[in-house]
Symmetry: C2
Subunit: 470 residues, 2 copies
């Protein structure tokens, strides 16, 4: 495929442009023909598949089962929960024709599925024995967006959305927090290697129709915040709107307490903006479609056999390995391409190295090169992958710490948020403070305990993490 | 969840009604609120996830990579390939409004993605080095349907659609056949355990825009055919419509040769209709979300510990196991529910059996019960699963053979197709013959060699498999 032979804009020079160039240069995604839509190319989708696998396993470990609800929702459903319709109605795409004729009732292409899911929950839930009901779906959703950016904000995106119903408010709270911590936070920290603030959203920032929203927030390479996953307590709002009641052991009927929670392809945008450098993407090994690329410098029978043997050895050890023997293209061009794509380790197999039973191992994260004897290649590659995972997290954490300032007043917060995050007592903000911050393009990203742990719901003594956001 | 306590309609009495009752009774799916749409419930979706995994692995083994193309397609795209638009235009759902306003150009919700994929192939393919380009996507698609039936024909369904481009027609033919055989046929036979006819479609039955369509066809329990997977050679039709050309080594430009291929949630309908019996679904072990259910007859500490130990032992051996300790419901009711869901093996743990270190193993396929010593439980379960897999295929094959008749003339074919399939020389059918058959609601399902192997493209001496179809 045709590629730009030139370098990338540097992050320091123009971060948004650098981002676009990485997305294009690493062949991750491009704009679709319809306003704001996105084509996810194999390299980007390979990352998404690995991320999906990690999230899916954790969601199942939390007891939820996957299901699928329809793309099309009757327009009237959206109006049943008042806050929800106010939040989503202006964002919808509407189908008015089918089979060559106008529809009797227009249908909305799902922007999120609370309404249609809860229509069915009302049928499926009768007794306390049907609870908790824990359902997740992987799907596409669409929203009308004025300004779009690949992965970060697109008209159509891919995500998972979980929907649950519980007998008590406490169980719903516990489950919303469990998903936040065990599915989202754990994936984002231990798989994506992104240091994450977790906490409650303010009323102003919570999901339309929720009573509480919990969120994971990461700091991007330009100091701005990106919301990486949210978990909502819906209280009994949808239960009342859709009449979802259960009978307890005595036969008395009550409305269920619910949660919903989602994470999307936006995570890939976060991955790029946290770990990328001026040479392109840098992938944590757990999310690299190819963790190692074996590059043949010049093709001949001996080299081909050697690279196949090396690839086999690494694959047997459980690694994802690709051989690049496209020697019709220049070696430098190919190396730049793999660097842009963020493959953690390159192994360069040249005839001279091979004659000495050696190969060159290049680590993507610091671009260091090392000549390695073939007998210790597997150990070196493993060590390079472990180091990549550790260093990516450490660098991101150091960056976040250098751009997060503890302050005491709103004025100081506004100043600090020009460079990154400010952390201040939540009592200094309040609704009026949020208005003031909004005037500077700053929002409260989350409320947390001083030690960064998840706050209790009614806890008074919280810190607000504030910053500009995507 | 509320369940009908009564039995199912028998297959012999009313097959379509039996099908609907199995889909509902096994909690696999139900109708969505918008015309023809479907909710896939966790049990049905669990089957789909396993089937997806099997297909996905085989598709990747054939060299294709997953990607994602947009749901929304500009209406004008559909018109670029003449046969394609004639085939799909009457079936589309059209979005005319977004963000509260009319769109400048209406967009079609994808009925299939040839047009939008090939719009991008034209950008990505420049040189022979970009070929072959092998892409697959898992997605939802929508089509306007007059009469819908869960899984078999729904307005929205889930599927995978593969799209490829090759330098030569031979390579395209080979790849279309490779997917048909290595991905579809192998999954349908060895995983779904459905005996399958494979072959070419006639011109009348081929995909809108293709030059050749290859198909897998199964016989359902009522003798009708269900198309289970199709692989199309598109020739250069889309390449010309979307201007997809590559430069060969000399720099001369040519249009690519293409394929597309798909399999959908319809496969689940086939699974039900081939293997189900009067007690519900019977699942091949490879597609059972739970292969074994350990049923606690009466809960007490000793029984709970024993069932946990049994489940652990089976899980360690790699089996998917669920414990049913919902003893508030009657044992008989629970047994019927697992039977309907088609779980291949039930282990019933009663206090008296347990006192003798025994349990009862029930095979779903023949409903046989056997008391088994706990020390040989794993071996017995494994053997029951293997037997299930073998018997389901053997029974389906015997049924198909009993309902397939070799005939010499169209008249005989019409008579035989009242009960199942007729096989006759393709030369006896022809276009006029297809018209005649159509008058009886009969179609040519595929053209194949006498020995059932895949025919060569230009081979004259073919048999036609004809029958009524879903």
């Amino acid at each position: 495929m045709a590629k730009d032979a030139g370098g990338l804009t540097s992050r320091a020079e123009d971060f948004p442009r650098w981002y676009q160039e990485v997305v294009a240069g690493a062949e991750m995604a491009e704009n679709g023909p319809v306003r704001g839509t996105m084509v996810i190319r194999p390299w980007g989708f390979g990352i998404w598949e690995l991320l999906q696998g990690e999230l899916d396993r954790r969601i199942k470990d939390a007891g939820a089962e996957n299901a699928y609800f329809p793309l099309f929702i009757p327009e009237a459903f959206l109006g049943l929960e008042k806050e929800h319709v106010e939040g989503f109605s202006p964002e919808t795409w509407v189908v008015t024709h089918g089979g060559g004729k106008p529809l009797e009732e227009p249908v909305v292409v799902r922007p999120t599925s609370e309404t249609v899911v809860n229509h069915f929950f009302a049928k499926w839930i009768q007794s306390h024995r049907d609870l908790p009901l824990l359902v997740n779906q992987w799907s596409n959703v669409v929203r009308w967006e004025m300004r779009t950016r690949l992965f970060l904000r697109t008209s159509e995106f891919l995500w998972q959305e979980g929907h649950t119903a519980h007998a008590t408010e406490q169980e719903a709270t516990d489950y919303a927090v469990r998903i936040l911590r065990d599915a989202y936070l754990d994936t984002i920290e231990s798989v994506m290697r992104i240091p994450t603030f977790v906490g409650l959203k303010t009323d102003r920032e919570r999901f339309a129709g929720a009573i509480r929203t919990w969120a994971c927030e990461g700091m991007m390479g330009d100091g701005k915040a990106l919301q990486l996953g949210t978990s909502h307590e819906l209280g009994q709002n949808f239960a009342r709107a859709f009449d979802i009641q259960y009978a307890d052991e005595s036969g008395a009927r009550s409305y269920v307490h619910q949660t919903s929670w989602g994470a999307s392809t936006r995570l890939i945008g976060g991955l790029i903006m946290v770990h990328g450098d001026d040479f392109g993407l840098r992938l944590p090994p757990a999310l690299a479609p190819s963790q190692v690329v074996v590059m043949v410098v010049r093709a001949d029978e001996h080299t081909d056999r050697a690279s196949a043997a090396i690839a086999d050895e690494l694959r047997s050890a459980g690694l994802r390995v690709r051989i690049d023997d496209q020697t019709a293209a220049s070696f430098g061009r190919r190396a730049i391409d793999w660097e842009r794509k963020g493959v953690p380790v390159r192994i360069e197999i040249g005839p001279r190295d091979l004659a000495e039973d050696r190969a060159v191992v290049v680590r993507r994260f610091d671009r260091s090169k090392q000549s390695v004897g073939l007998s210790s290649l597997l150990a070196e590659v493993r060590s390079a992958l472990e180091r990549t995972s550790a260093v990516l997290h450490a660098e991101a954490l150091a960056f976040r710490e250098a751009h997060t300032t503890s302050v005491e007043t709103l004025e100081e917060a506004v100043e600090a948020a020009a460079e990154g995050f400010a952390v201040l007592p939540a009592s200094e903000v309040g609704e009026a403070g949020e208005d003031t911050l909004a005037g500077y393009g700053i929002t409260v990203r989350c409320l947390q305990r001083a030690d960064g742990s998840l706050p209790g719901v009614d806890e008074g003594d919280l810190s607000a993490v504030v910053g500009k956001s995507y």
